[in-house]
């Protein structure tokens, strides 16, 4: 029954007839006596055959499953193993005509699965287990990586198809959680080392940094050169990494799935599952670098409901949870999210900030003690979150009279100037930027001058951040995965470069507005942004100085050992962070 070459028509007919005959006789098949026959049947791969044989085989599988409870697991297993094409077919399938073949096979597999669940409702839960069990988990970097990648992508395509298919009621949420789990696993497998510590890359960074400085010094910079540099940086750093590539394409697949859910008006229910999954797994996975962007994109697709719900859930977790580390993580996510999500309204940001400030005020009113980074770490993380969000949003809040008055009424002074001294404990770079903007906006003035000497972090911040370095945790910093950032995240993302600060001049504002207009762009038109960014740099070179320091706002890895070696390298890493925007030079 197993053939490796193409079958001649009469062989096909014979095979079809024998399969159909078997379908009729399923009740007589015994699992002990006909062991080898069963093994033969379950070992057949649908991909090798034409539609006639496929149909006959699937009919047999369904009949087997329905005839006896003993065969259900094997039948499901056989069908799920057909989610992935055999290695030798991968090249053919990647071509345009291969798509038709893939659809031919997969549509039949899914119809068969639905057929089995129709006849045996309990099979649905078995199916979820089989799918999760059979997920490809080893990602060897050497063996035929392209093929491995492709097959994994097809498997995930199938999982997502189950999520939105006819039996989604029974398997949908488990499928979605399985996808998120896989994304996290891949994400955690990519070390920052893979992205940053490539020695050759370091050299290149250094050179390019100088180049960039020289370039910036000129009045007329060739914007083409300028725009290209970061892209080569990117490809060199992440492109070598097969796991990152795979994660990138799987995230794109997930985004597209979310888009289709939104079109079919089921984003709400999908979001519930996604949110639960996030709170259970991603929230507490500190090495997670990109997987959280799935939440970001889901929120972007429906800012009013999903976007708001995400933020509110994070606030609730911060305010109500018992676990300090979870709370700090939640508020770090919240801060990064409120700062970076372009689709959130200023009013909503203001009201969420108010909740945070109120909590912080309540907390410090009950405290009599002095500064103690470890003991009051939840409080300090709350304060840092408030300051971080205001660094990004202060200007936009101050620009709206109603929100400005809300902001002015907020007890920022009592909280930040309290005995517990959050201004000393929180990350110096953030405190510095915040104070600068607060002063310019007449929001808050401090009698002390804080001299931070351009420090990124301090001993105090390390203390409150703890082992997990939650003081330097900005989970929604620019996504480094090319495909998902370019097409999906970027239009919804706030880059620090384009943030209007309260001390910025009006001239900058107009150009910034140009930029934001260019940014309000749909997928695929990202080339427009680059031109916009180029023109900005042409016109306002003094901004680069701000960029240099301001990019400190985009630091991500908590175990940033690259920072610790001497003072000079303090500033460089913030630039080296290969962000996909052309501006960061």
């Amino acid at each position: 029954m197993h053939h490796s070459e193409r079958l001649a028509p009469d062989e096909v007919a014979l095979l079809v007839t024998s399969l159909k005959a078997l379908s009729g006789a399923v009740s007589y098949i015994d699992n002990v006596h006909h062991d080898s026959l069963l093994n033969s049947i379950f070992g057949m791969s649908l991909w090798k055959y034409g539609p006639d044989v496929m149909d006959a085989l699937l009919e047999l599988i369904i009949a087997l499953a329905a005839s006896n409870g003993k065969y259900v697991d094997s039948c499901l297993d056989m069908l799920v193993s057909n989610f992935m094409p055999p290695m030798y077919l991968v090249n053919t399938l990647k071509q345009p005509r291969g798509l038709a073949k893939k659809e031919q096979v997969l549509s039949r597999v899914h119809t068969a699965l639905e057929g089995i669940v129709d006849l045996i409702p309990m099979a649905a839960s078995r199916l979820s287990s089989v799918v999760v069990h059979r997920m490809p988990t080893t990602f060897k970097k050497d063996l035929q990586k392209d093929h491995l990648m492709y097959r994994t992508e097809v498997y995930v395509e199938n999982i997502l198809r189950l999520e939105s298919g006819a039996i989604r009621e029974f398997v949908g949420s488990r499928m979605l959680m399985a996808v998120v789990d896989m994304l996290i696993e891949l994400d955690v497998a990519i070390g920052w080392d893979d992205i940053l510590q490539d020695d050759s890359c370091k050299g290149i960074f250094a050179i390019e940094l100088e180049d960039a400085d020289e370039v910036a010094a000129d009045d007329d910079n060739d914007e083409n050169d300028y725009a290209e540099l970061p892209r080569t940086l990117n490809r060199k750093s992440l492109g070598k990494n097969i796991v990152a590539d795979l994660l990138d394409s799987l995230m794109v697949q997930t985004f597209e799935h979310l888009e289709s859910c939104a079109r079919n008006k089921r984003l709400g229910e999908v979001f519930e599952t996604l949110l639960d999954s996030f709170m259970l797994t991603i929230l507490n996975t500190y090495k997670s670098k990109f997987a959280q962007f799935v939440m970001f994109y889901a929120c972007a697709l429906d800012p009013e409901k999903c976007g708001v719900k995400f933020a509110n859930t994070l606030v609730d977790r911060f305010v109500c949870s018992d676990n300090a580390v979870t709370r700090m993580s939640a508020v770090a996510y919240l801060a990064s999210y409120l700062a970076r999500a372009k689709f959130l309204s200023a009013a909503f940001v203001a009201s969420t900030l108010k909740r945070l400030v109120d909590w912080c005020l309540e907390y410090c009113e009950t405290q009599n003690g002095e500064m103690n980074p470890k003991a009051h770490r939840v409080f300090y993380s709350g304060c840092q979150a408030i300051m971080y969000v205001l660094c990004f949003r202060m200007r936009s809040l101050m620009d709206v009279p109603r929100l400005k008055s809300q902001l002015l009424v907020m007890p920022l002074g009592p909280v930040l100037k309290h005995k517990l001294d959050p201004l000393k404990v929180c990350l110096p770079s953030i405190v510095e930027e915040f104070l600068k903007q607060a002063k310019a906006a007449y929001l808050l003035t401090t009698s002390e001058t804080f001299i931070f000497e351009d420090l990124l972090e301090s001993d105090f911040s390390r203390d409150f951040g703890g082992l997990e370095r939650l003081d330097m945790f900005f989970p929604f910093d620019p996504c480094l995965l090319k495909k998902c950032d370019r097409g999906y995240i970027r239009p919804n993302f706030v880059y620090w470069k384009h943030v209007r600060t309260t001390y910025g001049s009006d001239e900058e504002d107009s150009s910034d507005e140009d930029i934001t207009e260019d940014f309000v762009v749909v997928n695929g038109e990202s080339f427009m942004e680059e031109e916009g960014a180029g023109s900005l740099d042409e016109q306002h070179l003094d901004l680069d100085e701000f960029d240099y320091a301001m990019n400190k706002m985009s630091i991500t890895p908590k175990n940033g050992f690259t920072y610790r070696f001497g003072g000079e390298q303090m500033q460089m890493p913030s630039r080296i962070r290969p962000s996909t925007t052309p501006e960061s030079l």
Partner: protein, 231 residues
């Protein structure tokens, strides 16, 4: 329909210390994990539960994790089909070789051709199959028909039942019950009446047709009793 019963159970749920903040939630969670699985202790599948009484005190177990055991009383709706019981289900697929049925919406059953009595003849018209009785032309079984069948065996893991339509009192429920005039009185008497059945109907589980016949009997019984009392 047989096989359904409500039983009173005295249970002890062991709760992990981390759940001590919300014990009722933990207990409900634990009970929910029993649902739709075959349970050896209860000798059946738990379909529903209702917690009656919860003890105020719990005993803490000694050990690495100090679980504490909460005693409670609950009513459990159990489904325990045994061989030779009569069950009812809806036909979802009909073939020459077999009839596939779904019982109570979750349990699957199959009746193979050798277990379908000769009275029934398979007919296929325009792709749609049906079984027609040779004796009573009106007695047909199609996709969507509710049928009553005998249990041969049960696969406890996947709740898959192997059934039989050999006995005379099996077949389409609509025909067996609705058309009382046409069916022989013998078949009605042959039908078993276990004790649990009346209770089950009050919960509204069994199919509509069986209700009418048994309710009449019940009402008659009550009337007889009342008459006896009055006299």
């Amino acid at each position: 329909m047989e096989g359904l019963s409500v039983s009173d159970a005295n249970l002890v749920v062991y709760v992990h210390p981390s759940r001590s903040k919300n014990v009722s939630q933990a207990i409900l969670r634990e009970l929910s994990s029993l649902l739709f699985k075959f349970n050896e202790t209860f000798d059946g599948v738990v379909l529903a539960y209702a917690v009656n009484a919860l003890d105020k005190h719990a005993r803490i177990l000694s050990g690495v994790h100090p679980y504490f055991g909460v005693r409670l009383k609950a009513n459990l709706l159990l489904f325990s089909p045994k061989p030779n019981m009569l069950l009812e289900g809806k036909v979802v697929k009909l073939m020459r070789e077999s009839i596939h049925v779904i019982v109570l919406g979750f349990s699957s059953a199959v009746i193979v051709d050798e277990d379908i009595r000769d009275e029934f003849r398979y007919k296929s018209k325009r792709g749609e199959g049906k079984y027609v009785s040779r004796v009573h032309k009106r007695h047909t079984i199609k996709v969507g028909t509710m049928i009553r069948f005998l249990v041969k065996s049960l696969d406890e893991e996947i709740l898959h039942i192997s059934g039989s339509l050999i006995p005379d009192h099996t077949g389409s429920v609509g025909w067996l019950d609705g058309d009382v005039k046409n069916s022989t009185t013998e078949s009605n008497k042959k039908r078993k009446q276990p004790d649990g059945e009346i209770e089950v109907q009050e919960l509204g589980i069994a199919s509509g047709d069986t209700h009418s016949v048994n309710n009449d009997r019940e009402i008659k019984k009550k009337k007889k009793r009342r008459n006896a009392e009055e006299h």
